[in-house]
């Protein structure tokens, strides 16, 4: 047996295996049920979509579809598939698989995370005039409908392996819960030549310090979710890459839910535009960037990050620190400073709690800085650190909180990605969720503008609507955008072909182009 073992070991050494880690197990391996980033990483490796966004140019590119077009004034989307597509087990992939995947997502009995978006698009029929053509018809013109399909994996309707039949570059071969996932190259992958890597191993590594140490020892080939401290610590290795601002934001919002179990005078402050804008102008965003992020972020502007080049309103700027503006707005709203304390028009001292999660050191620093900034205008805040489940319970169930400091992750570049947060009817409309009617005129206008961009097929018209949306948010400040953090990664010199992007997944988005040089060559 020994020679065989030796041969096996040599073979595994010779195989180009990419190794990286994720912080916890993927919540699901079911491609349509993905809600978390770790599951999305697995999905990205094992599935393929009709189109894929180039993470550098930010443009949609052909993937399973060799071309696509919008017809009938935006009412029909036609995909032309590549010929000869096959799943990892050899089963043919064609338009029938696209149709059944969309039908599964539209099935009213199922509630997949992607279903809501597709249903909102009002798809009336999915036709397959031939094995290589799919026609998707909608009731009304839908902007960015092709972008929806960037997220939709095409699953096999005929393979005996079901959803496990891979159309992506790799096939999942082993999953040890809490330890690792292993993947082998898919021999039937549609892109030729096949991926340069033979295999991928993802370790489950909860501790970022250990993750960093393993990268330094060469056991992991890249780290894609570094914070500013981790990035600074690895800079001396010369293997760090700052891909610039992400679509993510660190945000602060006040509870504006009329049914929240908090005192009425606080509700009055939090629903006051002057109060919110005054506090926004009292914050030193530049300091947050410099001190909490070591300069690896940009001051927060609004819901569309400046890195979303196509949709960002170029005239908008991050709210600068402006003591005079703060004073004017507070005075106009009836607040006055007495003995170092800010009092409202009824004489209540302005104090409130700021909740954030106890595991984020960066947020704790930001909270302490915000505490000091607001102390200077006579506002006392209690920083409350909670574990995430307790924090979510207060935010989503009891609504028993004053203000929250958290992050918002931007998944997709398309403006439709904003709708689940900003539509007043949405359960994720954090400051006042699930409204039956818009509580304020400006929320009604946001609803209207977002709906209008959803149906506008002209990109120029969509940009106009998105610009107005950003202006309303800047004017009303229901959410204070603090910073947009940069995408920080560390990539081993052994890896070739990596183009780190500020969009997710930052390092492996072009994994078929990534190669692994022998360690000696890399040095």
């Amino acid at each position: 047996m020994r020679p065989i073992l030796l041969l096996a070991t040599l073979a595994s050494l010779a195989a180009a295996e990419l190794r990286f880690s994720i912080r916890s197990d993927p919540k699901t391996l079911e491609p349509l049920a993905v809600t978390d980033q770790n599951s999305d990483t697995v999905r990205f490796l094992t599935t393929a979509r009709l189109v894929r966004r180039n993470r550098i140019t930010q443009k949609l590119e052909a993937e399973l579809a060799e071309k696509w077009e919008i017809r009938d004034k935006g009412l029909t989307l036609v995909f032309r598939l590549r010929p000869g597509l096959r799943y990892s087990d050899g089963t043919v992939a064609d338009s029938q698989d696209v149709k059944t995947t969309i039908q599964r997502l539209l099935d009213p009995a199922k509630a997949y995370p992607m279903s809501e978006g597709l249903r909102a698009a009002g798809i009336t029929s999915v036709e397959t005039p031939g094995p290589l053509e799919v026609r998707i018809r909608t009731k009304e013109p839908i902007a960015g409908l092709d972008s929806f399909f960037e997220e939709v994996p095409v699953l096999s309707s005929r393979s005996p392996l079901g959803d496990k039949a891979a159309l992506g570059p790799f096939v999942l071969t082993e999953y040890k819960r809490g330890t690792s996932l292993r993947f082998q190259k898919n021999p039937n992958y549609f892109r030729k030549p096949l991926p340069r890597l033979d295999a991928v191993r993802i370790d489950i590594q909860a501790n970022p310090e250990l993750e960093r140490a393993r990268f330094e020892r060469g056991e992991l080939h890249f780290l894609s979710a570094l914070d500013a401290d981790g990035f600074a610590a690895l800079q001396k290795t010369g293997q760090t890459q700052d891909a610039g601002p992400t679509l993510d934001s660190e945000i602060l919002w006040f509870n504006q839910n009329p049914g929240a179990p908090i005192p009425e005078h606080k509700k009055k402050w939090f629903t006051s535009r002057e109060f919110r804008c005054a506090l926004s102008a009292a914050l030193h965003r530049e300091d947050l960037v410099r001190v909490a992020y070591g300069g690896r972020a940009v001051p927060g502007v609004g819901p569309v990050a400046p890195s979303a080049k196509e949709w960002f309103a170029p005239k908008l700027r991050a709210q600068p620190y402006d003591a005079k503006q703060t004073q004017t707005l507070l005075t106009r709203a009836g607040f006055q400073l007495r003995n170092g304390l800010l009092l409202d028009s009824s004489g209540n001292p302005v104090t409130f709690s700021l909740l954030t999660n106890s595991t984020s050191r960066v947020r704790q620093r930001m909270a302490a800085m915000i505490q000091q900034d607001l102390d200077k205008i006579g506002i006392k805040i209690q920083v409350v650190l909670l574990d995430m489940p307790s924090l979510l319970e207060r935010m989503t169930r009891s609504s028993n909180y004053d203000a929250v400091l958290l992050g918002m992750v931007g998944i997709d570049l398309d403006p439709n990605d904003q709708m689940n947060i900003w539509m007043s009817t949405s359960s994720s409309h954090a400051w006042n969720p699930s409204q039956k009617q818009p509580a304020t005129p400006w929320e009604a206008e946001i609803d209207q503008v977002l709906r209008a961009q959803f149906h506008a097929t002209s990109p120029a018209k969509r940009r106009q609507f998105m610009q107005r949306f950003q202006e309303i948010v800047a004017d009303q400040a229901p959410v204070l955008y603090l910073v947009h953090p940069n995408a920080l990664a560390a990539v081993s010199r052994q890896l070739t072909g990596v183009k780190v992007s500020s969009l997710l997944p930052r390092v492996i988005w072009n994994i078929e182009e990534v190669g692994l040089a022998p360690a000696e060559t890399a040095r």
């Binding site: 310090e209 981790g230 410099r290 595991t359 920083v383 409350v384 650190l385």
Partner: protein
């Protein structure tokens, strides 16, 4: 502390008395530092100098500054005061409860003995640290940082009383059934006189020992919670909060002075345990 005991009883030319004296001196030094520190420090523990973050020790900032530009020395001494005073208060409370329950367990008859034994077992075998998460989650959000800190130490004290109570129960039980108490009874001592003259003076050192053992346990408990972000809230400093910066291994190499709170916490804990060893002997 077995290793320490081994060292000073067999390997080193120190007696328990010497160790106790040394521990007392170290602790006196720590107390002096914590009392005098805020007086001599020129900085407010909460004031942020954002243009001077993570600076090295110097004449202006004796222990440098933290990641928000706050004076490390000011935070260290104020945090130390807070940790020690709150831990001592919580330990005192826990010892009072321990004395009461332990005495009931010893003198209250077989039913009380069984009941207290069950309570001790439950207390000592339940992961009470979860209680910290639960109570911190349900505290009113406008609870001040000081009250939150007091509640945190209160919970730690609650977690810690059972060890002491069991020791006291055993000590009292040993005494009331021992020959010299029987002898005292035979000479006519009874009731309050028996307690005042014989039991309290002998249980006292056990109680002091338990206090000295519990004090560092609570200080370390707060430090652990501080590392998890659930210790004393901002802007109040604490030794546990200072340790958060040590999570990154490069901090220790690049800014070794950040280790001072950890070292002082360790020295104080060792000294308190050494004192406890002296008391129990």
């Amino acid at each position: 502390m077995r290793i320490l005991g081994l060292l000073h009883t067999r390997c080193l030319p120190f007696s328990r008395g010497h160790m106790k004296n040394l521990a007392s001196m170290v602790l006196s030094g720590v107390v002096l530092l914590l009392v005098a520190g805020p007086v001599v420090s020129r900085h407010d523990y909460a004031a942020q100098d954002r243009d001077l973050i993570l600076s090295s020790p110097g004449s202006e900032h004796w222990l440098g500054t933290d990641s928000l530009g706050r004076d490390n020395f000011a935070r260290f001494v104020v945090g130390g005061r807070l940790s020690v005073v709150m831990a001592a208060t919580a330990a005192g409370g826990a010892c009072a409860v321990a004395a009461f329950v332990g005495t009931i367990g010893a003198l209250g008859g077989s039913a009380a003995r069984t009941a207290t034994a069950i309570v001790f077992d439950v207390m000592l075998s339940t992961p009470w640290y979860l209680l910290v998460f639960v109570i911190r989650a349900v505290l009113p959000l406008d609870t001040s940082a000081g009250v939150t800190a007091a509640v945190t130490f209160g919970i730690l004290g609650f977690i810690g009383w059972a060890h002491g109570a069991r020791a006291i129960r055993d000590a009292v039980l040993g005494m009331v059934t021992g020959p010299w108490i029987r002898q005292a009874r035979a000479t006519g001592a009874a009731g309050f006189t028996l307690w005042r003259a014989h039991i309290v003076p002998n249980v006292g050192p056990v109680l002091v020992t338990q206090f000295l053992l519990l004090l560092p346990t609570l200080m370390l408990g707060e430090a652990t919670l501080g590392m998890l972000g659930l210790g004393i809230p901002e802007p109040l400093p604490s030794w546990g909060g200072s340790l958060v910066e040590l999570v990154q291994t490069n901090t220790v190499l690049e800014r070794p002075w950040a280790l001072v709170p950890a070292l002082l916490l360790a020295i104080s804990s060792i000294s308190l345990r050494a004192l406890a060893g002296g008391e129990s002997s």
